[in-house]
């Protein structure tokens, strides 16, 4: 012990310890990735083609049930694909055509047509899904990952 020398036994013990730690790490990572969410095509989480953009009149809200989002065409003509999940606690937010607003039944949050918060407790505007218009003039919405935003603005709107 007085000598500052690492014995062979110490090295072997260190090796066993490192191997054990490695085994635990590998197994945990394998387990975690085993448990991670799966993605299935054609369902919510996949790509949706909604056809010709011109069939949707300005100032309209079209629910896409399978994709759990609303296709919103603002009165100026731009498009938004808005996730129907309330940003407060996850309720499904229905569109109220008479007031032109989204009103959450659970805790009273209200959103304007472009998803901005008009009435709390929702902490941020409704999330968006990436929307594009392809060469054939058809609308495509990718529901794999919603985009969080802190404010609704015109940059988020997709125009033809």
């Amino acid at each position: 012990m007085t000598e500052n020398k690492i014995s062979r036994k110490d090295i072997i013990n260190l090796g066993w310890g490192a191997a054990g730690l490695l085994a635990i790490t590998e197994l945990s990572l394998a387990g975690l990735s085993f448990l991670s969410p799966r993605k299935s095509e054609g369902e919510f989480g996949g790509l949706f083609n909604l056809g010709d953009a011109n069939q949707y009149p300005a100032g309209s809200v079209t629910p896409v049930e399978a994709g759990r989002f609303y296709l919103v065409r603002l009165s100026e003509g731009g498009f938004l694909a808005m996730y129907r999940r309330c940003t407060h606690l996850g309720c499904a937010v229905p569109y109220d055509p008479s007031s032109g607003k989204f009103v959450c039944p659970c805790h009273g949050s209200e959103f304007t047509m472009d998803g901005d918060v008009q009435n709390e407790p929702a902490p941020r505007p409704l999330d968006l899904f990436p929307l594009s218009i392809n060469e054939a003039g058809e609308i495509e919405v990718d529901t794999s990952s919603p985009i969080e935003r802190h404010q609704a603005n015109s940059d988020q709107v997709v125009n033809i």
Partner: protein
């Protein structure tokens, strides 16, 4: 044995030998020595010491709450295994299993009711058990870590309840779990991936049902079994605290576990079993229509034991309501036994006469204070409106939190100035917070209507 020298194992009849090979001791010993030996040598009974404190057997000390929790666990295990044979964990089949339980399966409703009510009762009894230990200072040295294990058991009980809540796959289940897991979303950084992992996707769906099923029938029960074993073993090693009156020494008298404790336990278990079965025969567990992910009910409420948190969320910025305030509360609970070194009062209800008065007063203050706060906040308080130049995490988070912390610290310091001992002041503070949380839960469950608007009982 000595007066029957001929009874060596070879001379015994075969049936007696078989019986002795299974149960070595006599099952009905008549003298104290063999009774103690039976406890020591029995796999089940040796969770008890051979002798127990006589005053601690009094029902008005422990109220048998720990024992009741074990009984409930047993009832849940048995009824849970039975339910496994009927239930299919998929969105298409889960609700049909519920209907089958109500219409086709013999005693299906009774078994489901027993499971449902025992599970819910377990949360209540778990909290009462914690309060009993707290108010008799049963968590002081050397029992600090057992208190921590008790808290983790309570959390696991709530997790078991919550995962079980989803399994019927009705509207109640679907939206309570949606709202409940969305609370996790607010944890900074890890909240979103954690919720995704738990749900198996962005929303409650088929993957969530499989996940919750696995957690509910395997992971959580095994974890509870492991920790409960450790918990009870520690109680056995440290012994239970002994009750005593103010300024009296504890009565040191001990009695043998058989029959004094064991017979009491058996009678207690039978009475509770009868109560549970009677209750479950008449009162059905709720079942609403099948889950519909497109249609949220109004209002959508979390499971009742989370309503205190959901109510907090109505008053504070989400990070504060869902994470910071509950987190601080939990941390304080875990640290309690390590901060409190006043062991001289162990076994005395509420520690002292002053402790009793302060506990009552703080409980009252907590209830009145929170009702007042909820009412004011509903109609008058509007921090974000008054401080429009600040982000809502400050105006609706740090500002009210700081105000409340200042009030609490002021209350604590006032009690100290008025001559309370540290442990009495701390107990008063705990009581104040307990009463506040209980009141928030009450308001959330009973006084929130459509759109979570406050319903005043007088109109």
């Amino acid at each position: 044995m000595t007066d029957q020298p001929n009874l060596s194992p070879d001379n015994l009849p075969i049936l007696t030998r078989i019986q002795r090979s299974i149960q070595r001791e006599s099952v009905a010993p008549i003298d104290d020595r063999s009774r103690m030996k039976l406890v020591m040598n029995s796999l089940v009974l040796h969770i008890h010491p051979a002798k127990v404190s006589k005053p601690a057997l009094k029902l008005t000390y422990t109220f048998g709450l720990g024992g009741l929790l074990i009984l409930l666990t047993a009832v849940l295990a048995v009824t849970g295994v039975l339910l496994l044979f009927v239930y299919t964990p998929s969105p298409d089949a889960a609700y049909k299993s519920m209907i089958a339980l109500q219409t086709e399966v013999n005693f299906g409703n009774l078994i489901r009711n027993l499971h449902y009510w025992s599970g819910n009762l377990m949360v209540v009894v778990g909290v009462l058990h914690l309060l009993r230990v707290f108010y008799t200072a049963g968590f002081t040295r050397p029992r600090e870590f057992n208190w921590v294990m008790g808290i983790s058991l309570l959390l696991l009980t709530i997790a078991a309840n919550f995962t079980g809540y989803l399994l019927p796959w009705d509207q109640l289940a679907y939206w309570a779990v949606t709202v409940g897991t969305s609370l996790l979303d607010y944890i900074p950084l890890i909240g979103e991936p954690l919720t995704r992992l738990l749900l198996g996707g962005p929303e409650v769906g088929a993957a969530t049902l499989t996940n919750f099923y696995g957690l509910h029938i395997a992971v959580i029960p095994l974890a509870i079994f492991a920790i409960v074993s450790f918990h009870i073993w520690r109680v056995r090693k440290d012994t239970i605290t002994q009750p005593r009156k103010i300024s009296q020494e504890a009565d040191k008298e001990k009695v043998t576990t058989i029959p004094h404790l064991v017979s009491l336990e058996l009678v207690f278990a039978l009475v509770w079993l009868a109560l549970l079965i009677t209750w479950s025969s008449f009162i059905n567990a709720p079942l609403e229509e099948a889950a519909n992910p497109a249609h949220s009910p109004n209002p959508a409420k979390a499971a009742w034991y989370f309503m205190g948190f959901q109510e907090l969320l109505l008053h504070f910025h989400p990070v504060f309501g869902a994470i910071i305030i509950p987190g601080l509360g939990l941390l304080a609970m875990i640290l309690l036994p390590y901060l409190d070194q006043d062991m001289a009062t162990t076994g005395i209800w509420f520690r002292s006469l002053r402790g009793r008065v302060l506990t009552g007063l703080s409980f009252f203050l907590g209830i009145v204070g929170v009702f007042g706060f909820v009412w004011l906040d509903e109609f008058y308080l509007d921090f974000p409106g008054w401080l429009p130049f600040l982000p809502s995490s400050i105006s609706n988070g740090w500002v009210p939190l700081a105000a409340i912390l200042l009030l609490l610290i002021g209350y604590y310091e006032l009690l100290k100035v008025l001559g309370s001992r540290t442990c009495e002041a701390r107990q008063a503070l705990f009581t104040l917070l307990l009463a506040s949380f209980a009141t928030l839960t009450f308001v959330g469950i009973f006084l929130r209507g459509e759109g979570m608007a406050l319903i005043l009982p007088w109109g």
